[in-house]
């Protein structure tokens, strides 16, 4: 089993999945990158269901059987996961209180977004996107019942430069027994800012951005997409629900329809404006709401779930790694201008 270890200075947890390597230089990546698309075999394609673990959820055509073709969206556990399901792990510490570690428990699932190997999320129909989003909601809601998983992270890597190992469109969900550092930082800061401004800081910023308009890329009745005021990366985006809520699982059916339109618009624009870039997107939401120690009173009022979307157009190097400062070669106002479309035809 892997182990979770804490860096007490940075406050960051890492997953150690130790391997029996032979020499230190074995860890250096090969210079050539394996082609994501071999064109010969894909374990996610229909007909290869026996190459995946049994499905835990699927939206299927009527009359089709589990783990057989006929699915439209299919969710399977990771066949070779770094974290495995288990009971709440004990936190171990060294006698001098310098080193902290625990068993590496967790959930790792893959959401196979479509039976079509070639069709990217940007090119799917609105009805199909709604099915994917409904699947996200279903999986998050089901895993939330298990309170040992204190945070549920849902994300998508598109393209090898963004970390995808297969071209077949898929997203992933990883539930961890700790609340990640970035989420803790957002929670702490949104709590402080709620005290300062007397309202949810996200709601406050959304209202200001919509009023100003220069960083707004898209808006409909339930969602908006903006470039943040201080983005780390070129064309970095935030997608916010206009209705205040700390958890994605609280999304309503009509909001799923609006969210599908929003995602289709923004992925379509990224594809067109940036020539089909690799990207990562992920949901930031409150910790597992069944974990009372992670969700103190008031959290539901001061935290606001959202998507972060990052086209992979630049590399993080020494300055950024060492300082946490980012140099962004394009202003968010200019990025928004490129991505905006006068006629929103969705």
């Amino acid at each position: 089993m892997s182990e979770l270890r804490k860096d007490i200075i940075g406050g960051r947890w890492v997953i150690i999945a130790a391997e029996r390597s032979r020499r230190p230089d074995d860890f250096r990546p090969k210079t050539e990158t394996r082609k994501v698309e071999t064109g010969k075999f894909c374990p996610f394609c229909p007909g290869n269901e026996n190459k995946t673990p049994p499905e835990v959820f699927a939206i299927r055509k009527r009359g089709t059987l589990p783990d057989q073709p006929g699915w439209l969206v299919r969710v399977v556990p990771n066949k070779f996961p770094a974290l495995v399901r288990g009971d709440a792990p004990a936190l171990n510490r060294s006698e001098n209180n310098l080193f902290f570690w625990m068993e590496g428990i967790g959930v790792h699932e893959v959401i196979i977004e479509s039976p079509d190997h070639q069709r990217e999320m940007a090119d799917l129909s609105l009805a199909h996107l709604e099915k994917i989003l409904e699947t996200y909601r279903q999986r998050i809601t089901e895993i939330q019942v298990e309170k040992q998983y204190r945070y549920i992270h849902l994300f998508k890597n598109k393209g090898p430069e963004a970390g995808a190992s297969l071209a077949h469109p898929h997203s992933q969900l990883i539930a961890t027994p700790i609340v990640p550092k970035r989420i803790q930082e957002e929670l702490r800061s949104s709590k402080e800012l709620k005290e300062k401004f007397g309202r949810c800081i996200f709601c406050h910023l959304i209202e200001e951005e919509l009023k100003k308009g220069e960083r707004v890329v898209y808006q409909n009745e339930h969602f908006c997409v903006v470039t943040p005021f201080a983005p780390r990366f070129p064309f970095e985006l935030r997608l916010y629900p206009l209705r205040h809520s700390a958890w994605f699982s609280g999304i309503k059916e009509n909001e799923i329809k609006s969210l599908a339109r929003t995602i289709k618009f923004l992925l379509g624009r990224l594809k067109k404006v940036l020539s089909d870039p690799p990207y990562n997107f992920y949901i930031h939401q409150g910790p597992n709401p069944t974990s009372t120690r992670d969700c103190p009173d008031g959290l539901a009022e001061y935290y606001h779930w959202h998507f972060e979307i990052i086209p992979v157009l630049s590399r993080v190097a020494g300055f950024e790694w060492g300082t946490g400062f980012y140099i962004n070669p394009i202003s968010p106002e200019a990025s928004a201008g490129f991505l905006r479309k006068e006629k929103q035809d969705l």
Binding site: A17, A18, E19, R20, S21, R22, D26, K30, R34, T38, K40, F41, P43, F44, K51, T52, K79, F80, P81, A82, V110, G163, S165, L166, H170
Partner: protein, 119 residues
Amino acid sequence: MKKKKRILVVEDEKNLCLLYREELRKEGYEVVATTDSLRAIELIKKRNFDLIITDIRMPVKDGLELIADIMAIKRDIPVIINTAYQSYRHDFMTWAAEAYLIKSTSLDELKAKIKELIG
């Protein structure tokens, strides 16, 4: 007499390749071993195997590309990935294999997995 199950071992380190061949023969299997992944493709096309054991990091054609080729030729052959690296677990092409094992000086885990898959 019961026919022996035939295993193909693909491992670019010559000594390990020989070790696997001898150890698995002792277990009663017929073993064909090669250090060359391109040769492995030729063998798979010509002969029937009950199981394939492959390393990942190999020159010319790596184990994941080899697995994709195997699936295109004979999809039903079970494959065991036997590698020194955990990091390839992130690559979903590994799912074409039945098992992902980390190389060890003891072959007990490998032998147990072979037994589980083909008896």
